[in-house]
């Protein structure tokens, strides 16, 4: 695998600045933050004493799902739709450089959003390193899966159609885990549920070690699975054949 640092840097810079010029993606990143700010100033009686955790969980899951699952897929699909991907490939940019830049830019944007949400939620600062670690792990597989959706999609419209079911699968179980056994089980085996469990276990305690190991295993399995799918699709779609 041959990666040029110069090309990766140019792609990263282009993708990062282009993100700020794309109103749809900027709004996508601002919604979770606005949600958390809004809820901060609304008096929710049932959440007295648990507001910080509620805001953090809600913000982290919504931000992660909206940004990590949407940005790479939409951006890759747009490059295919507007034929800029072909111009890049014909300019000797390798597919791995192209995808790596997308993944890095999205990771930076998601993590920036998550850190802002952490501070707005009022969570204790000492939990920040654990929070960064857990949200990073939870997001890596989402970003990779989003890149897979981007590879599979012909254009932005078909990319949106594929993003929605994945987003529902990742977001609904952790949010409504208490509503039933099926959702609780799904929450345990999907990355965002596992990410939250791992974070609260490490920062606040009270979660049995075997459940934390299971959560870490779930995230690792999702990361490996998304890497495998990504690598296999990347190989298949390498040329026009």
């Amino acid at each position: 695998m041959n990666i040029s640092a110069r090309k990766l840097q140019a792609l990263f810079k282009k993708d990062f600045t282009d993100y700020f010029k794309n109103p749809a993606l900027v709004v996508c990143s601002l919604i979770p933050l606005l949600f958390v700010v809004l809820y901060r100033f609304i008096n929710i009686p049932n959440l007295q004493g648990e507001l910080d955790d509620f805001l953090l969980s809600l913000g982290m899951v919504v931000n992660s799902s909206m940004c990590a699952l949407i940005i790479p897929a939409t951006s890759i699909a747009e490059e295919k739709e507007k034929f800029t991907l072909r111009t890049l490939i014909l300019s000797n940019v390798s597919a791995i450089e192209f995808f790596l830049a997308k993944i890095l830019v999205t990771t930076v944007i998601v993590m920036l959003g998550n850190v802002l949400i952490f501070f707005v939620s009022g969570s204790p600062v000492k939990a920040l390193p654990v929070y960064i670690l857990c949200s990073f792990m939870g997001n890596v597989c989402a970003v990779m899966l989003s890149a897979v959706i981007g590879i599979m999609s012909r254009d932005q419209a078909s990319s949106s159609a594929l993003q929605v079911p994945v987003m529902l699968l990742f977001v609904l179980p952790p949010v409504f885990a208490s509503a039933g056994k099926v959702l609780e089980l799904l929450s345990e085996v999907t990355p965002y549920g596992a990410m939250l469990r791992l974070y609260y276990g490490l920062s606040e305690g009270g979660i049995p070690a075997e459940k934390m190991i299971f959560a870490a295993g779930v995230i690792t399995t999702w990361i490996l699975a998304s890497l495998l799918i990504f690598a296999s699709l990347y190989k298949q779609k390498g040329t026009d054949n």
């Binding site: 282009k14 507007k82 800029t84």
Partner: protein, 280 residues
């Protein structure tokens, strides 16, 4: 002269039908080689094979004298490609697009200014791509393809959809690039363009190379065996080439009856129709 491109017995099929059928030709350094043919003849497919967007089924392809499968990434830095399916970033200006591709290619950003002047887009360099006309986009794409002074330039119908004035400018630029040492492989179905620019031409039909040579060679090879004389009485006389006709024409000349004398060489379009029976 150094060999830049070499194809020997190259085949490619989609399903049962051959798209490229035992194609062989070579392009030498410093040439402008025109690849002509009607839509669906296999021109773009051949270009995709040469630029590794498609893989051949069989045969040999060499670029810069090296087997295409063993070619290194650095060699591809010496190639420029303008294909009909290239695009530029719409939310970026022409200049920012070129600066980005200069960074990708490792080219000095000062070159952006030079190339913008060459394609006559310097005054409009701040225009966003989404606000550019088709002609401006095509010129910006051409600028992107030549930004790094490629040794070998692939152009797939570079003037398609452009107005005559812009076509003239693009032709001027291509001739200048060629004079500076760039070898050009040009696919087109514009016969006039091929005649004007290309040192050699290959005519492709249904995946086969049906003729190859300089435009003059092709015209002479397919010239009719007749001479046409227009007399003062506006009469067109057709003579078969040969000693007998020479005497008759001489007599007409001596009598001051000849207005014009023409040998009948076909143009490239007629040659193509003669070879394939197809229309453009």
């Amino acid at each position: 002269m150094k060999e830049m491109l070499y194809l020997e017995d190259v085949c490619l099929s989609f399903g049962d039908a051959f798209s490229i059928d035992h194609l062989s030709f070579q392009v030498m350094a410093g040439e402008i080689y025109g690849f002509l043919g009607p839509s669906g003849a296999g021109k773009t497919t051949t270009m995709k094979l040469l630029t590794r967007q498609l893989r051949r089924k069989s045969g040999k392809i060499r670029i810069f004298g090296r087997d295409i499968d063993k070619i290194e990434r650095a060699d591809y830095e010496r190639i420029g490609i303008l294909s009909d399916t290239n695009g530029l970033y719409e939310r970026m200006s022409i200049e920012d697009n070129l600066k980005f591709f200069a960074a990708i290619r490792g080219t000095d950003k000062k070159e952006v200014e030079n190339v913008l002047k060459k394609v006559q887009l310097y005054e409009k360099r701040k225009t966003l791509i989404k606000k550019c006309s088709k002609g401006m986009r095509q010129r910006a794409l051409l600028a992107q393809a030549v930004l790094h002074h490629p040794a070998l330039l692939f152009l797939d119908e570079p003037t398609s959809g452009l107005d005559p004035a812009t076509i003239q400018e693009v032709h001027k630029m291509l001739l200048q690039l060629n004079a500076e040492g760039t070898t050009i492989f040009l696919t087109t179905h514009n016969m006039e363009e091929a005649d004007k620019l290309c040192g050699r031409i290959g005519i492709l039909n249904q995946g086969h190379l049906v003729a190859q040579g300089s435009p003059e060679e092709l015209k002479l090879a397919h010239a009719k065996d007749t001479i046409e004389v227009l007399t003062k009485g506006r009469e067109k006389l057709i003579f078969k080439k040969g000693p007998e006709s020479a005497g008759q024409i001489e007599q007409l000349l001596a009598a001051g009856q000849c207005l014009t004398i023409h040998s009948k060489e076909p143009n490239l379009e007629e040659i193509f129709l003669q070879l394939t029976g197809r229309e453009f």
